[in-house]
């Protein structure tokens, strides 16, 4: 292993770690959003952050980690299917709640203190 390939592998490792860390950051932010937002429908938006950018960034990081292999191709397929199926699942849940008569909270939600966040009627 010469110096150049060592440098390249370090750069790739850092890049993939960066993508995965960003992905984990978005998953965490989405989770905190689920806790803080007041009702079912608004929480669903925060959950959407975890399964779009959060999941895809982690997959990109793993693809870089896998390199030019079959595993990378499988991961890309996984990301593609996630891209197509996650909105379908979200719509199914949202549509079920709407059909069942759960009324969305449509008033302005602005708790006077941050500690009151997440205490909506939902």
């Amino acid at each position: 292993m010469d110096l150049l390939s060592i440098a390249l592998s370090i750069i790739l490792d850092l890049l993939s770690a960066g993508f995965m860390l960003a992905g984990v950051g978005f998953v965490l932010a989405g989770t905190i959003g689920v806790m803080r937002l007041p009702d079912f429908y608004t929480r669903m938006h925060a959950a959407g952050v975890t399964d779009t950018l959060g999941a895809e960034l982690i997959i990109i990081g793993l693809v870089i980690q896998a390199g030019f292999t079959l595993v990378a191709a499988k991961l890309l397929l996984l990301g593609f299917f996630l891209f197509l199926t996650s909105p379908t699942a979200t719509h199914a849940v949202a549509n079920a709640a709407y059909k069942a008569g759960l009324a969305p909270m449509l008033s302005r939600f602005k708790p006077p203190h941050p500690r009151d966040a997440g205490k909506g009627e939902g």
């Binding site: 978005f26 938006h45 959407g48 909105p87 059909k99 939600f109 708790p111 941050p114």
Partner: protein, 166 residues
Amino acid sequence: MRWNWVYGATLVVVLGVLWLVLSGFWYKPLLVGFGVLAVIIALVLTVRMGLLDDESAPFSQIISFARYWVWLGAEIVKANIYVVKVSLKPDLDIQPVLIRVPVTARSGLGRATFANSITLTPGTVTLAVEEDAFLVHSLTEELADPAAFADMGERVNIAAHESEKA
């Protein structure tokens, strides 16, 4: 039952490549033989059920869809950052709204793509699909911009070749 060579051939190629990628056994003749058999069975079933059409093999529009997905990806990143900012702000201040988005797409593919794109973008979710409109729940008033939805619908129509189907 309508047999179309273009759809049939593209479906065989896509299924074959998918099988090879997922299994990785291209050096064992017996297993490749099983793979070929599986592809043939899948193709026969698809044709028998009358499913072989533009919807089960939508590969003629793959280039225009790839262009659309690149644009959608950028929109998703922007919307993600916006939703994270809104939901993590210490002083939470949201104004959820329900709005009806007019839909001009008529084909199943165009309508499904539009509805899924709205849902995929954080902050907006399609609640119900109606005859000529979608009922959309939006986290803030800023995200429920009719002009932005109209722009997205226009791009979907271009990607799904909506004008040619009429």
